[in-house]
Symmetry: C2
Subunit: 369 residues, 2 copies
């Protein structure tokens, strides 16, 4: 499917972070648009980092576009999947950069989903203590969440995203056309992060998502364009206030504490991150409800939307102890106290603790027997 | 040797970097001084990173001091030496942090020389995307140079310090008493970085070094105190203007471009970093002279001082091509053009290129036949 585009249709969202500010460009067909790549830092070379799944689809087009801006465009293609978000993959990027004698002006381009974006961003943060990079997210999850805001990381055998940096890209280029080739399961996973923005920040957006869920699942270009833009606007608003997550930024982790336990408990990669977040939001809403912060109707409404988006709403039955164990090593935890992102009231999030017994009760109620 | 001390003798140098500002404390006996450890970020745990050589000398004292401020003080002791400034060592720190369920308030303490400081700082920069850390340098080189200014890194098989971050410590605590146990060769290596500050920034300091070199080599506490303080002041002045080395900070690399070629050409660890810098300054001065920026008398004066400090002034005869090859992968190089830090005039440094033929001539003149 090809969607024609012109400059007028490019939406822009700004991330305001003083000298680290940058724009998100959102439109179909941006991979081939000259404007998407103009005005980036000049360099003797660029390096595209991608993976084996995305490369056959989009690498040649990005290379073609970048060749008019950089004398040399190197490529590093990594294996696909969360299990490869490791030091080994990171080091392959350094190997290419050093083997090609890339200097500290070299610009890195992350072409792919969240894993490619996180690794590439961290490589850019570390190579020669920092080189510029550009996010070119090709999944819905990466376009609405992981490519925006400068969180980069790799996994450690003892914990997900435990080694990383806050490091902002020069630009985020969201080519909406790439979403047309996304597997259905990954589209749903991305919708989990879109839905997230409603309860934590904007109930009008939640209304819109409910009304347009069918369009989104059918990949209607206009619906996708609005969902990506509004998600990025909310994320920009949060990140602009708290780049390094010392406060409000934690609300973006709604559903992620429970979700993290699901991912870690099952083994990373069994559920997609977005699937775990979807189910985690059901649990976090129910915990909010048990604490009297939202009513049962809200939990039911959110659960129904998540289910209709094609996401799981019942957790794997790992036992409450396993959930609690994994949540204690969450990065938000402090001295072993789990910090939950809860809804209070709908449209606003808060970060607080909860009694273990109550959390266990919620987990049991939300898990398959 | 024990040196008595009291609060009045603690010298302080401030690094002014807005919200990342911090103090360097300089005095004998600081390891046991309560004031050295007061006012640091509170946390449920601290982690001391050190090495097998330094641990038997100073670990117990630092542990004892920190126990009054942190409920738990973990330790990670690494093998000693530049050859261990690797991902493997870095990952051992992450292993300990995660095995001990350390949260993102955990404070890391780097107890040792430049290698320990660089690895620990980089671990702090990356663990959970950044935790606070404190430099406790125990070598002269680390006290006057590597612990100050926030450059952290590990080596990659294809290049030294190629993977790292600009990440500032909360404080630098220079216990001058630790210099009394330093091997003579490492004292001389540290003096190379002390001498460096003269030609690039302060010829009055160079006069002082010449006059007090005997005292410094005899480890006179007053002489060491002044050398460390004045070196830190100059470094603070430079770093305060250019934290991320986009300009003037590069002058701190005087002697380091040639020195890097010596280290890489011989294999890292054959010469100490300070030894390579000492000889590299002779070469860089001679290159400055060939370009008409300083006179022969200056080169002779600097060469004589470096030799008297116990440092090599004649380079290993690797051949000019090998020198040029290694200098092209220096981080200051741009698109293969080597950038030299040159003296112009004495007391002031400049960064510029030079013709390969002239560089080759200088290398040949400065190397053992």
């Amino acid at each position: 499917m090809t969607i024609s585009t012109d400059h007028a249709t490019v939406q822009r969202v700004s991330i305001q972070l003083a000298e680290r500010s940058y724009d998100i460009q959102i439109a179909p067909g941006l991979l081939d648009q000259a404007t998407a790549w103009q005005g980036l830092p000049k360099a003797g070379a660029a390096l595209i980092v991608t993976n084996e799944t995305v490369a056959p689809l989009y690498l040649a087009r990005l290379q073609q576009s970048l060749k008019t801006h950089y004398p040399v465009v190197h490529v590093c293609s990594l294996p696909d999947g969360e299990s490869h978000k490791t030091w080994e993959s990171l080091n392959r990027i350094f190997d290419v950069l050093l083997a090609q004698a890339c200097d500290r002006k070299t610009v890195l381009f992350a072409l792919g989903g969240g894993v490619v974006g996180d690794i590439t961003g961290f490589a850019a943060a570390c190579y020669m203590r920092g080189v510029p990079f550009v996010q070119v997210p090709t999944t819905l999850l990466a376009q609405v969440d992981s490519s925006v805001g400068g969180k980069t990381a790799i996994n450690h055998p003892l914990g997900k995203n435990m080694v990383g940096a806050f490091y902002q890209p020069e630009r985020v280029v969201c080519d909406l056309s790439t979403l047309q080739t996304l597997p259905a399961r990954e589209l749903s996973a991305g919708l989990a992060e879109v839905i997230k923005y409603g309860p934590i920040a904007d109930m009008v957006f939640l209304d819109w998502i409910e009304k347009h869920l069918g369009d989104l699942l059918a990949r209607d270009p206009q619906a996708l364009a609005y969902a990506v833009k509004r998600s990025c606007e909310i994320k920009a608003w949060v990140v602009g206030q708290d780049e390094r997550e010392s406060g409000i930024r934690a609300i973006l982790n709604f559903g992620h504490t429970f979700g993290h336990a699901i991912e870690a408990g099952l083994g990373f990669g069994v559920w997609l991150h977005g699937e775990a977040v979807g189910c985690g939001m059901v649990m976090a809403s129910r915990l909010s409800q048990q604490l009297g912060l939202v009513d049962a109707a809200f939990t039911e409404r959110l659960t129904s939307l998540i289910a209709q988006a094609g996401l799981p709403v019942t957790g794997p039955d790992l036992g409450a102890d396993v959930y609690l164990h994994h949540m204690r090593v969450d990065k938000k935890a402090e001295a072993g106290d789990i910090r939950f992102v809860l809804i209070d009231p709908p449209g606003k999030a808060t970060v607080r603790g909860a009694p273990d017994a109550l959390v266990a009760e919620v987990v049991q109620a939300c898990c398959r027997a």
